[in-house]
């Protein structure tokens, strides 16, 4: 998949772009280059509908001078001179930030390789065989179940980073993903389940998420009516996927240094205070083996690390990029800030403060997901939510809907509800009575970098069955 010499060509192109900067007299510059090759198989209506292959790439150049910066994107190195000129004209209009300059080279600890020959060796036939296996499996388990959408993809990338300050890194990586929508359209009743998974290594031929999609397409059939259900705050179990959808909208922005400094974070002014239940902690891990965001350096070229953000419920550290930290200090928003190696960057956008893999842990007893259901006298199990992107990251408020929701009475699931609204405030809920289930795992979605688990929020969320 990864063309021979691809990594060397990307490195060489970065050097050509850097040389153009030097010729133009640019004080500081860094450039990220990437070239990706991949194959994907699309599934529709129970069959393979399309197979595609291809490659894409480009370069993102940042120049810095007198605290000012500009960014330009290039398709290839032949346009370097023009891109540098264009960036220089923008740089002159950019505001100067006292103390902002590119980082120098420092010791970098290597991270586990994210390149797997077994994925790089996959071709279209291999992926089609895997798609066939998934289609056959679903049909064999449930006669009326059909994979109505989704697909399988595999890709390999060559990435290089080069800066005027002597930072030079390059790496090859692979990625594999699978998503399936399983639908049961039978007896005038249509239910479905969507699940996905991804990894940098080889996925199993039929990953667990296929069973999960089948399970939810099945267990939401024959819904019960709960028109006169309880009102007010209720006990709600969110699966790691549903939890991740909301957590991912709210928590990464809450720990973002520049947002905190601008009073735009729900945890602004709360550094050092308790923001979550005392048994909960959050680690932002840039070095997690198999982590979706694992890298030896961040988008600024600063070495990554494993950092505790919330310790025993207390908010102890925020994330900063190089420029974000310098600007917050220059603007007088904070007395001191420095890069935490937490910036992300693409070939299309300059570095900005972000997160790596966020891991939520608990020191309290962690029951199995099944035992967690038994703890609920009257409540709900929500597996997936629609509209998580409409959650308010500044306040933590959310109001979403779900068609994957089960009613729990006396510690047992008594049936599915066709649709329900789910409302609450995630910040408040995380400070309240929370039980985290065993076996932390990814949020189950392709590209997932949240390592959560099923969670029980006791009497803090509202559920309104349709």
């Amino acid at each position: 998949m990864l063309a021979e010499g691809a990594l060397e060509r990307v490195q060489e192109a970065c050097s050509v772009i850097g040389a153009a900067c030097t010729r133009a007299g640019v004080a500081q510059w860094d450039v990220l280059g990437s070239q990706t090759y991949g194959t994907e198989v699309d599934i529709e209506a129970g069959r393979i509908s399309l197979v595609g292959s291809g490659g894409e790439g480009g370069f993102g150049l940042r120049i810095v001078q007198d605290g000012r910066f500009a960014f330009a994107r290039l398709v290839d190195a032949s346009g370097a001179e023009r891109a540098v000129n264009e960036a220089m004209s923008i740089l002159r209009r950019s505001p100067s930030v006292d103390g902002f300059e590119l980082p120098g080279a420092s010791t970098v600890h290597s991270t586990p390789s994210a390149f797997h020959r077994s994925v790089d060796d996959l071709d279209a036939d291999d992926l089609m065989q895997r798609a066939d296996a998934v289609l056959a499996y679903v049909g064999s388990v449930q006669e009326n179940a059909v994979v109505t959408g989704g697909g399988i993809s595999a890709s390999a990338s060559a990435t290089a980073f080069l800066s005027s300050e002597g930072i030079e890194r390059s790496s090859a990586s692979t990625s594999m993903g699978l998503g399936v929508q399983v639908t049961i359209d039978h007896d005038d009743q249509l239910t479905s389940g969507w699940e996905g998974t991804s990894a940098d290594g080889l996925l199993p031929e039929v990953p667990d998420c296929v069973d999960l999609a089948l399970q939810w397409a099945t267990c939401t059939r024959d819904p019960i009516s709960v028109r006169d259900g309880p009102s007010g705050p209720q006990d709600v179990i969110l699966s790691d996927g549903a939890f991740g959808s909301l957590f991912g909208m709210i928590v990464p922005r809450a720990i973002n240094g520049p947002r905190l400094a601008r009073n735009e974070s729900l945890w602004s002014g709360r550094l050092g205070e308790r923001v979550m239940a005392q048994h909960l902690s959050i680690v932002d891990d840039g070095r997690l083996e198999g982590g979706a965001m694992t890298a030896s350096i961040d988008g600024d070229g600063v070495p990554t690390s494993t950092r505790t953000i919330v310790d025993g419920g207390r908010f102890v550290a925020a994330n900063w990029s190089v420029r974000g930290a310098a600007k917050a200090v220059a603007d007088g928003q904070v007395e001191h800030a420095e890069s935490t190696g937490s910036s992300s960057r693409s070939i299309g956008a300059p570095p900005s403060t972000s997160t790596h893999d966020l891991v939520l842990t608990s020191t309290a007893s962690r029951p199995s997901s099944e035992a967690m259901i038994q703890q609920v006298d009257e409540g709900w199990l929500v597996h997936d939510v629609m509209g998580a992107h409409t959650a308010n990251p500044t306040t933590g408020d959310f109001s979403v809907t779900t068609s994957s929701v089960l009613r729990i009475v006396d510690g047992e699931v008594v049936g599915a509800v066709r649709q329900a609204g789910l409302t609450g405030n995630l910040a408040t809920a995380l400070r309240g009575e929370v039980v985290l289930a065993a076996a932390p795992q990814r949020d189950g979605r392709p590209g997932g970098s949240l390592h959560l688990a099923d969670v029980l929020f006791k009497a803090s969320l509202g559920v309104n069955p349709a």
């Binding site: 529709e44 209506a45 069959r47 509908s49 399309l50 197979v51 595609g52 292959s53 291809g54 894409e56 910066f69 500009a70 330009a72 994107r73 398709v75 032949s78 346009g79 264009e86 923008i90 209009r93 950019s94 505001p95 036939d125 089609m128 066939d132 059909v146 109505t148 959408g149 929508q181 639908t183 359209d185 249509l190 239910t191 479905s192 601008r262 009073n263 735009e264 729900l266 299309g348 956008a349 300059p350 629609m386 509209g387 992107h389 409409t390 308010n392 500044t394 306040t395 959310f398 109001s399 979403v400 809907t401 068609s403 066709r418 649709q419 609204g421 789910l422 409302t423 309104n464 349709a466």
Partner: protein, 474 residues
Amino acid sequence: MVLDRRAEAHRWLDGGRANAMFDRLTSMGASYVELRAMSCDSTTVQVRDGAMESAVPSQDVGVTLRVLADGAWGTHSTTDIESVYAQGESTLKLARAVASRRATSVEGVELAEVPIFQDEVHWHPRGDVRTLDLSERLDAMAAVEKEAREHERIASVATGWADEHLQTELLTSEGMDRLWTLQRALLHCTVTARDGDRVASYRTRYGGEGGAASILEADLGALGRDGQDAAIRQLSAEAAPSGRFTLVADPDLTGVYVHEALGHPCEADLVAAGDSCLDGRLGQKIGSGIVTVVDDPTIRGGYGAYPVDDEGVNAREKMLVRHGVLNEYLNHRETAAKFSLEPNAGARAQDGLHHPLVRMSNTIIHGGTHRDLDDLLEDVEHGVLACGTRGGQVDTGRGSFQFAAQEAWLIERGELVRPLRDVSVSGLTLEILNDVDGLAKDGGLASPGFCGKGQTVPVGDGGPYMRISSALVG
């Protein structure tokens, strides 16, 4: 390669090499071959609290080769345009591999016939974004920000600008040789207000197809003032009640409702995949008789406007629902053939690296039963007025949807009594469409937006103020 950004209709594809490949592949058994290249010259600018955060000029170019053979597709996409002519045979092989796996009971892909053109279609912009200086963009953003900031409770103002010049070239083995261009521009502003521990944000968007003039000539100060007013109002808003209410939606939210609840289930690729609640319902009554919905890419200025779809079909209006009856699906050539319908220019690809899917463009519900908002509110004993959009989502198969408002008011006996925060509405398409019981007379496209369906494309949607007799409010 970075080209002269003002160059008119530079051709990325080599017609001679493309035709040679088409001849080769059709002689080997391909029934259809297509090369589609898209280039996008764009500039994005971010300003926060009066200081420029970033300005990024970009040029993206991609090409996708699609080969239909034995009733199955193979594709190859790349940013390396020169390399694509050598990918014909391998892509044909992919198509054949897909075809070989198809059960004999399953029909192969066919394409509905379309008129063949050899032409160029240029939607000339007013205010060509390629000749726009950075200072003109910054001035426009400053005009919004100035009005948005001037209040003690405003904590921050973030404004953004995005413009693009798009060129698509389509060459096919059927002899299609089309090139079309258009431009889009968008200005957005997020105002954050704070009062003690209470924080509220409000986002406004303005723009559409047709260059920068529509933005530069607009009352940009009003856009900022609207954002400021709304953010401050939200500081005193109370949590929304939960339950079933009469809902009145403003044009922004009406647009999102029509897009999510009806538009997506009308996409024929989802119907064909067995993932639409409107499967088999063409010609059937699915909603109230006052509901008429169109999807129209020819509305110039709409953010989802285009002259030609990504299969080379001239854009046209689609009447999705006429007086409550499902009238038409959105189609591309493949689904048109499957359902024995006419292609109606519903094929859109995110960029040159993606193949076309069935997508919406500018989706609007027609108005007419009530004079205006006051007229709609007059009959409401207890309800919610919801305005502005924070987006929505739909499960097309189950027909369930959710959309969220930016601000809302509680309605008591026809009067707006107090602001509400974080209101969302959910429901089931086939129930809610029947519960639309009032539409104001005037309405058109509302704020520009984006639609994700594996690929992201710009869309417009809107309508008049709309009343739903019973909706689930969260």
